[in-house]
């Protein structure tokens, strides 16, 4: 995820899906199509950026599970 952006990739994908559905739906208006198209292109670019930029944060727990008492 990009910094200062709390929207998750999943949420952005959902937003993009909604935008794409708008083009096929009854609410479609040609006057708004250009703005919506730009919005969709930006979302796609954001998703690509989010996915290509980050690595996973893998943390091995220090706690031992060898016995009930160990922390």
């Amino acid at each position: 995820m990009t910094k200062n952006d709390t929207t998750t990739v999943q949420e952005k994908i959902d937003q993009l899906d909604q935008l794409v559905s708008w083009f096929d739906g009854d609410d479609f208006q040609v006057e708004q199509a250009s703005a919506k198209l730009k919005e969709a292109a930006k979302l796609a670019a954001d998703i690509e950026k989010d996915l290509s930029a980050v690595s996973n944060d893998i943390r091995e727990l220090k706690r031992s599970f060898a016995s009930d008492n160990e922390k």
């Binding site: 083009f23 250009s34 198209l37 796609a44 290509s52 996973n56 893998i58 599970f65």
Partner: protein
């Protein structure tokens, strides 16, 4: 000089010697005379072709179904009772050998299936794109390394908490249960917990057929995914998990989508919108052009209609023209119709002045 003991001291000394020499032993043999007393105490004999030894354990320590004739490995402490009987106090017991492992597996599978633990209705869907995952595995295992490599190739930005546990042997089920309990009691739960173990023999994988572990997986608040062994291996943990992956690598493929696929798909989604919009604009343009054409046609029809009306009116007016009557031989008389008055008579070709000689009404 030989040592001299009281009987109770001798028993205590022998037990101390056992404790020092064999604090914990593993003994393999065949189960005979298996019985459970008062629902709490388990007694059986462990034997081979030449010898037999009494075994004792508590019911709660019995983690897999056992019956007579089954080959098992017990983890136990040797003990001489105050009645002089030698026995093994069993801490753990597991089936040994393919036949016994399979038999024990089938017995427990049937029992848990009857309880509905494997029912499809219990299965929960994993999140499409998790943000926080928990892994229970041995971090030294090849299966874990395979999982992490594929996970990192496919997706990024995940928080991954890893609980390192042993994944085979008598200690494995309890360690995995503790790790499961740990994740399930966190303030913020992971989106999914994944139990990973690479391939191994049936004996190596038998930890994942432990009844308490299977129940712990079933009771997990967090959706569970297992990637245990190879594709052909099916453990009871696999059956009870919400989703079963064939291998650790397959678990990584299941838990996250491939970022390259997502990027390709989103690009395709946006690109497909351009022809869609252009097509819509073209359709609108054609529609408008059609309407303009229709309007011109309608206007032309109105003009033609009025032209025809005008022609008819012109014809009608022509019929009432007095010149047409004069041409047919009629005359137009102007002036006072009184005897002696001069009147003007207009013909088609001439105008005549005449005097009125008489005037009679008809």
């Amino acid at each position: 000089m030989s040592p001299k003991f009281r009987v109770s001291d001798f028993v205590a000394t022998v037990n101390q010697t056992f404790e020092y020499a064999y604090p914990l032993v593993e003994v393999e043999g065949e189960v005979a005379s298996f019985k459970v007393n008062q629902g709490k105490f388990v007694f059986f004999d462990l034997k081979d072709e030449d010898a037999s030894v009494n075994c004792f354990m508590m019911v709660f320590q019995l983690r897999v179904p056992i019956e007579d004739g089954m080959k098992v490995v017990v983890t136990a402490t040797p003990k001489l009772t105050k009645w002089g009987k030698f026995s093994l106090t069993v801490k753990a017991i597991r089936p040994s050998g393919e036949g016994s492992i399979k038999k024990s597996f089938e017995m427990l599978r049937k029992k848990l299936d009857q309880e509905g633990l494997f029912a499809l209705e219990r299965k929960r869907a994993l999140p499409k794109i998790p943000r926080h995952i928990a892994i229970i595995s041995s971090t030294q295992a090849a299966g874990y390394a395979d999982f992490i490599k594929i996970l990192n190739d496919r997706w990024g930005g995940l928080r991954v908490d890893v609980a390192h546990v042993t994944v085979q042997g008598a200690e494995a089920p309890d360690q995995i249960i503790r790790a499961l309990n740990y994740f399930n009691t966190q303030e913020t739960l992971p989106d999914v917990v994944i139990i990973i173990r690479g391939g191994g023999s049936a004996d190596d994988l038998s930890a994942f057929n432990d009844e308490q572990l299977v129940r712990a997986v079933a009771g997990s608040r967090i959706p569970t995914l297992t990637g245990i062994g190879h594709e052909v291996d099916t453990s009871l943990c696999d059956l009870v998990a919400d989703v079963r992956a064939a291998t650790p690598s397959n678990a990584a493929q299941i838990v996250v989508p491939n970022r390259h696929d997502i990027v390709g798909y989103t690009r395709m989604q946006v690109q497909s919108l351009i022809p869609h919009v252009l097509g819509t604009v073209d359709r609108l343009r054609q529609h408008v052009a059609g309407r303009v054409e229709d309007s011109a046609d309608i206007a032309m029809r109105h003009v033609e209609k009025h032209q025809q009306y005008l022609l008819q009116t012109q014809r009608l007016l022509a019929e009432f023209d007095p010149a047409r009557a004069l041409e047919r031989g009629y005359a137009l008389v102007r002036g006072a119709m009184k005897v002696g008055q001069t009147v003007e008579i207009e013909l088609a070709q001439a105008i005549i002045k005449a005097k009125v000689e008489s005037y009679d009404k008809k």
